[in-house]
Amino acid sequence: MQIYLPIAEISVNAFLLLGLGGMVGILSGMFGVGGGFLMTPLLFFIGIPPAVAVATEANQIVASSFSGVLAHFKRKTVDLKMGGVLLIGGLIGAYLGIQLFNYLRSLGQVDLLVKLSYVVFLGIIGSLMFVESLNAIRRQKKTGSAIIRKKHTWLHNLPFKVKFRTSGLYISVIPPFFIGVFVGVLAAIMGVGGGFVMVPAMIYLIGMPTKVVIGTSLFQIIFVTAFTTMMHATTNYTVDIVLAVLLLVGGVIGAQIGTRIGVKMKAEQLRILLAVLVLAVCGKLALDLLLQPSELYSLGAGGGH
């Protein structure tokens, strides 16, 4: 069944979108990731204009994060104070990201910006995850020793120290603030929540307890992606609600299935699978940039649109 998307202004098969939403939903349920970093490139591949894909995906992430954070609020695994600091940074970052996005859009380079960001970040995160989970499997086979985390780094000597009760930390607000800014920029230009950057940063840089990390990052992501959605909707008119709803329906159902599959698999196997998937998407995008395109020319709206 073909459905006409009012903002993207193209006709797409509705079942294809439901299927994509479902597939990414299954993966996000299995791996506990937002899935934005997979969905946005997939939307490029099926021919949705990158500007529409990024803005619409931001809107869809609001839905999936909201659904996720409710469960964490019930379990009291959200550090609101830390979330607030990350959020202030995130909003500033998203604002800067949108400015950069619109500036490059006017130059006709927004596709390059978005795709390059994807190649760089998916490449880094995918390789790190791959190596890490390989090591974890090897370690498991040899001994059974846990990772020893460094207790004190230069990050603990920064000023503006604040007590974060839920996380049980007494640290400077500077690192979480800048992590927030960075994630905000990514959210605006990549159409992702940024959980895949924020979660490792919170664990390894800030030293937050793992149980509050997911809830807190979801809390921040809701507001940052909501802000990004509003910015894209009011400055670029690129949020396609029909597209968002179709992806949502598929995503919600997929996430339920994925969670059930995820329970039955080992964490290390899951991480390796996810790493391979991330690297595959990264490779496809990189090839698009490196190989000579079959059509060298592209069309855009003329003049002051």
Binding site: Y4, V62, F66, S67, A233, I241, L296, Y297, A301
Partner: protein
């Protein structure tokens, strides 16, 4: 009196031509709805004569349907830093139809002289106006060709030589396919009849293509009330997220 005179003039112009087109479209309005998957319109008509058929060469019919005209920026990718393909040079074509389909009874060159094509802008290349085109690189033709190639691949520019059926040099008909990726707006259907490659008569009619129903409502809201559209999108997202969470805990319980 002046008005009467003007009316006489209006009537008089087509009367000068011995042959006159009477034509219509199967529909004058096309709605782009949520399930819009392209459409097809029938262009049909007849040639009325108040004199015997002229002795000159056989009559040919050229039908064109043209979408709203817009400025288009065309960008070319070049290899930069030896590895990566980046949009570099660009050209602005200030007036190109968003859709253009031309159908003829015989190959274009036989139906129409070059001079007539220049005057009536019938072929795709002529329909794209590059007057005042700001070309940064001096390769105007390449960019125009790229525009025609890309839009032809997307089904937006079509040439159907021999697709117009003509019976007894009087009745004609052809079908124009409208793809699903149409731009909404006012379209113009134009019919030319030619003899010896010279235009004998021209007929024009309008075709209104617009978004309807929810598509129209959403598009207008997104552009005219962007703030409320954004809020609505967020509201739908949060409601959906909440429902998903509620459904999840219901199934768990």
């Amino acid at each position: 009196m002046l008005r009467f005179f003007a009316l006489i003039m209006l009537i008089a112009v087509p009367l000068n031509a011995a042959e006159e087109i009477v034509a219509d479209l199967s529909q004058n309005r096309v709605g782009i709805s949520a399930t819009f998957d392209g459409s097809r319109i029938l262009v049909f008509g007849a040639v009325s004569r108040d004199a015997p058929m002229p002795e000159s060469g056989p009559m040919q019919v050229v039908v064109s349907v043209s979408g709203p005209r817009q400025a288009v920026t065309i960008r070319r990718k070049d290899k930069r830093a030896g590895v990566i393909w980046v949009n570099s040079a660009s050209a602005l074509i200030d007036d190109a139809p968003s859709f253009y389909s031309v159908a003829t009874t015989v190959p274009m060159a036989q139906a129409l002289s070059v001079a007539a094509d220049v005057r009536y802008k019938v072929s795709i290349a002529r329909a794209i106006s590059s007057i005042g085109t700001q070309i940064a690189t001096g390769h105007a033709a390449e960019y125009t060709e790229a525009l025609i190639r890309i839009r032809s691949d997307n089904g937006l520019y079509q040439v159907h030589e021999g697709a117009v059926e003509l019976m007894s040099e009087t009745l004609f008909r052809t079908e124009i396919d409208l793809p699903s990726n149409l731009t909404a707006g006012e379209y113009t259907a134009r019919i030319l009849i030619t003899r010896d490659q010279q235009v004998v008569d021209v007929f024009e009619t309008k075709l209104d293509i617009h978004k309807v129903g929810i598509e129209r409502w959403l598009y207008n809201l997104a552009h005219d009330n962007a703030f409320y559209y954004g809020l609505m999108s967020l509201f739908i997202a949060i409601a959906a997220g909440w429902m998903a969470s509620a459904a999840f805990s219901y199934f768990r319980a």
